[in-house]
Symmetry: C2
Subunit: 336 residues, 2 copies
Amino acid sequence: MASPVTLKSVASQAGVSYQTVSKVLNGQIQVAPETRERILKAADELGYRPNQIARNMRAQRSHMIGYSWLPNSPDQINQILDQFLSSMVDEAEAAGYHLLPFPFRSGHVDDYRELINTGRVDGFVISSVEYDDPRVSFLMERKFPFVAFGRSNPGWNFPYVDVDGAEGFRQATKYLIDRGIRRIGVLAWPDDSRVGNDRMAGFFEAMKTAGLDVNPKWIERGEGTFEFGYLASLRLLDLPAANRPKAILAMSDAMAIGGIRAARESRLDVGRDIAIIGFDDAPMSQYLFPALTTVRQPIREAGRKCVEILVSLMKGEEPAEQHVLLPPSLITRSSA
Amino acid sequence: MASPVTLKSVASQAGVSYQTVSKVLNGQIQVAPETRERILKAADELGYRPNQIARNMRAQRSHMIGYSWLPNSPDQINQILDQFLSSMVDEAEAAGYHLLPFPFRSGHVDDYRELINTGRVDGFVISSVEYDDPRVSFLMERKFPFVAFGRSNPGWNFPYVDVDGAEGFRQATKYLIDRGIRRIGVLAWPDDSRVGNDRMAGFFEAMKTAGLDVNPKWIERGEGTFEFGYLASLRLLDLPAANRPKAILAMSDAMAIGGIRAARESRLDVGRDIAIIGFDDAPMSQYLFPALTTVRQPIREAGRKCVEILVSLMKGEEPAEQHVLLPPSLITRSSA
């Protein structure tokens, strides 16, 4: 039987030191691409298998980041998953970590507890965060490293990255007001939604700054779907002409597209008779007739930032910033 | 200093045997939910950390499945990622595995080699497969377990799951022919695309069966984007009336939506003057004006099946089937 291939034989074939091979294979140093290539080739040819698992055990680290997301129903848009996941995967890899995705089961933390107890992950990124989120309280209590994409209860202090939804709605509202529109309706999420309330705060503030009244009848709350957006917009557009909003601001593109359908059926010319603004900048929004004015979120930056902060926490370092609010941007097209 | 918490102390607190604790924490047996809960709670309270990593080392298994996907540019639709990933994550978990996502870098297999050499994964699922795919030849040569979502060179024998694109295009073409349409244009992918060629085969077959000629001028090849679909459709609709297709069959919904825009600009009523059919059933397709007729792929089933076959391979078993073709379904709406 052949003797086991050692780091030394790889080093000798690659013409570098034992230490260099070890550090390169452990991702602890950067070397010239040619050197790295030579070492990997030598390891490959000799059949060297450094056993990541044994290394992890010695380090008491899994180098894994747990992540779980709420899958959308197939008829709804998950516009951010690709960008959010791939930016996290890229950032994690650069820091020597991998992502460990696991099924989303809301309302309890069993999966989180088990991944911690079995040593499978060194930290978590959590998303779809809401008020009283049991994952946040559990992970804070366990003092286990995590970063939330989104905020929760105002009194809870934990590391998060969020898109500044208030700023997004402030911008969109101001844009409408600057164009002479005073009567603005909103398709909003239920008031137990933290994300929804942040956005509404931006709306209320922009209206107040302009000295405009908010008509509670013009705020419709429900799911972020096409169906809800369609039905709620029909209700708004059925109001007597003197008391009907001239613009509809929606919390998702799907809702806004429902609004466009409702406006068409009410024989209104979207962009002229009524302005409609969405939120998300879903890929298709630009191709609609009319193309949708919407609020775009910096998703890749959010994914990168979550992992960057988490890596510091997992290394026991103090991250430079633990509460990051990223500004969204209004993309103006012809629907408003 | 407290002595380390052992399996035995967990067993004693939970009131079960040492073996039961070990097997439950290793996922080797199913017990009553209350028993499981009691064991997890005891492990939790005592701070027992069984070290998954040490277990994996003894088993020489990582229980990880490597997966990498080609991220879409933000303005394009990745309609399948959420469904494909979450179905794989669910199926993997049920079999005691986790997914290990890593960045997609096309044209070389370094990431695959490194994940194998470092013992980080026990198998791969690969997607965006094309002809001469270097990942397929590399993994076949290494005899490392993998399943492809998609087919490659006809002569290569490897386990795959694919959606039957020929069947999808056959159905769509027949649907148009049955409605009396004889002149059918196609927005296709370049002919170095295996997926594209499979679909074209279904189109050619349906045309031949109906005794209809294919006009090579009516086949436009390019990227699966809105822009290409728009420009190529303008070219088709600019042909002299007697020699102009009455229907456009597209390989993606984005292309089809470009076609709808081109038809509108040519003052054609989509659904009456010209039929347009997409492929993907992207979430927004149903909300377009007119709603898009399109071909839907069984993505969740594909994800589940890929992992199911891979788990057999990783266990050294012979999977019941290694070449799975799933039928897509035509979703008829008002655009055709």
